[in-house]
Amino acid sequence: MTIRRGWAWLWMSLGFLYFFVPLLATFIFSLHGKRGVLSFIAYRHVFADPQFLATFTFSLQMALLTIVVGLTLIIPTVIYIHLRAPWAKPIVETFSLLPFVIPPIVLVFGLIRMYSGPPFNLVSSRGLLVAGYVVLSFPYIYRAVDAGLRAMDLRGLTEAAQSLGASWGTIMFRVVLPNMRVSLLSAAFLTFSIVIGELTLAVMLAWPAFGPYMALVGRDLAYEPAALAILSFLLTWGLIGLIQLASRSLAGQGSAVGGAH
């Protein structure tokens, strides 16, 4: 018993070190902006640059749009597949892996070729960027939604709701989605982290996004990129926390499900 526990602790500490030592090192490095003393000067420089806030806000907007579009597109599809077309599951699963197989650079050239002339001249539209991001986050959203649906008795719950007179809208918003809260959050979380740091699509489609900004700063400066990395890390976690809080208060009673054990 105690030996097994010892092993558990060992692995946990190893995991902890693996994730946090680099972060800590980056943080300490970022404090060396002034020779000989530890200071937050690098952070001050970052905040002083108007580009920082502008690019971060832009990427934040894109991330939220991607989450909304991705979820609205994928949730009904996966539910439909679960209930009506289980035969399509392997096909969609294979599809969902394509963004891993096809590099973003190929995707973006494809997008540019396809949409840079009539009949679809969309290269300068934000919609194309968001569409590209939706493709990139498709595997993560799909998997999270699929896992969420597998974890509940989707057919039983929808049929129970139907026999109680509920329409599809009611079933979705009162029964299915509240019971997928955790998996929807993780889908949102993953999408968010992908979009915030995304480089290729943003550069090739020429958008002032946070990813290109970080790359630029990393090329020209020494301590500021480290500070930026720490900041973006904290900001991302903070925003995830906000999403979680918001969804908890929105779901109301539903939040007690997880916490009632």
Partner: protein, 360 residues
């Protein structure tokens, strides 16, 4: 006109007919069970009544209204599922409220109705619990209350007790029957458990391979099974092959020993199936008006209140049940015993051979 009517209902998945020519008329307030093994089409039929499957052919009417192609949420049919299907994000109270809110009941009427339902299932104190905080039996009672709250025209139960353990199953069985009688709701109950069907139902529909084998009261189904399948499916049954010696006298031969039935045998062929319930047999020699078969005692199984003896008669093995008594002396294994049974204990369930081959 009956309250719930199914007329020539057929359901095909691909080429295979899962339900074939299902006709049934259920009266208002009646409790009807669909009984059969897995894959007999009982659940598919239930799901067609609920609207979750649409029939390939035939029609379904509830209270005189044609509902064959009506969406499930507009049929006014309540459903209880094997795995409860309570909404995990809602308390029991919210679960029961769900249908009432969907039906736009006035808030002032919802609360008393929910309380009434909680009282009906004896769970007044558990209204604020979430499904995962309750036992399976409690969850299923909550699901029953949820289905009944909206006053559906018909209540459908799809093997509601199969996921529960034996003790709770029996208690809940009684409770379901009481609630059904109290509310007077027309109920269809799907089960593979003959004991449930026999103890709950006004009528039982025995199904096999998508077809109805027999419709009747539990008493009729048990005592006068119409087909060999019903006879073998309901209760334990000894099935013996017999040869007709004299059809008008009701004289048969089982492994060279004579058996007389209560009346003439109507079978056309020389070979029939003789079925005997284990509880109709005794270890005493029959009187002049009864039958006796001799055989070897090959096994004794102690089942608590019942002692089951297995007796070999020719190639057949006969099961004999008798109540246990402390002073009851059992014959030793391997000994020759006589099995007595009344003439009217004989169930002749059908010919073993086609009619054409009967007359020499």
């Amino acid at each position: 006109m009956a309250f719930l009517e199914l007329e020539g209902v057929v359901k095909r998945f691909g080429r295979a007919a899962v339900v074939d020519g299902f006709c049934l008329a259920v009266e208002e307030g009646e409790f009807v069970s669909f009984l059969g093994g897995s894959g007999c089409g009982k659940t598919t039929t239930l799901r067609m009544i609920a609207g979750f499957e649409s029939p390939t052919a035939g029609s379904i009417r509830i209270a005189g209204a044609e509902v064959t192609s009506v969406a499930p949420n507009r049929r006014g049919v309540g459903m209880v599922f094997q795995n409860y299907a309570l909404f995990p994000n809602m308390t029991v109270r919210k679960n029961i409220e769900f249908g009432l809110k969907v039906a736009r009941w006035r808030p002032a009427e919802i609360a008393p109705r929910v309380t009434e339902m909680l009282e009906l299932i004896h769970m007044e104190e558990l209204g604020e619990r979430y499904p995962h905080q309750m036992s399976g039996g409690q969850q299923q009672r909550a699901a029953l209350a949820r289905a009944l709250a909206v006053r559906p025209k018909v209540l459908l139960l799809d093997e509601p007790l199969s996921a529960l353990d034996a003790k709770i199953r029996q208690r809940l069985r009684t409770e379901i029957r009481e609630i059904q009688q109290k509310t007077g709701i027309t109920t269809i109950y799907v089960t593979h458990d003959q004991e449930e069907a026999l103890s709950l139902s006004d009528r039982i529909v025995v199904m096999q391979s998508g077809r109805i084998e027999q419709v009747g009261t539990p008493h009729e189904i048990y005592n006068r099974p119409a087909t060999p399948f019903v006879a073998s499916f309901i209760g334990n049954l000894n099935v013996l092959e017999a040869t007709v010696l004299d059809a008008t006298l009701g004289l048969l031969s089982v492994d060279g020993q004579e058996v007389r039935t209560a009346g003439p045998v109507s079978a056309a062929g020389p070979r029939v199936t003789l079925a005997l319930r284990p509880e109709m047999l005794s270890l005493e020699e029959g009187s002049a008006r009864a039958n006796t078969l001799e055989g070897n005692l090959i096994n004794i199984i102690f089942l608590g209140s019942i002692v089951r003896l297995v007796i070999a008669i020719g190639k057949h093995e006969l099961i004999l049940d008798r109540f246990n008594a402390p002073h009851f002396a059992l014959p030793p294994l391997g000994s020759r015993v006589a099995v007595g049974f009344a003439r009217d204990a004989c169930l002749i369930t059908g010919e073993r051979e086609p009619v054409a081959a009967a007359t020499p």
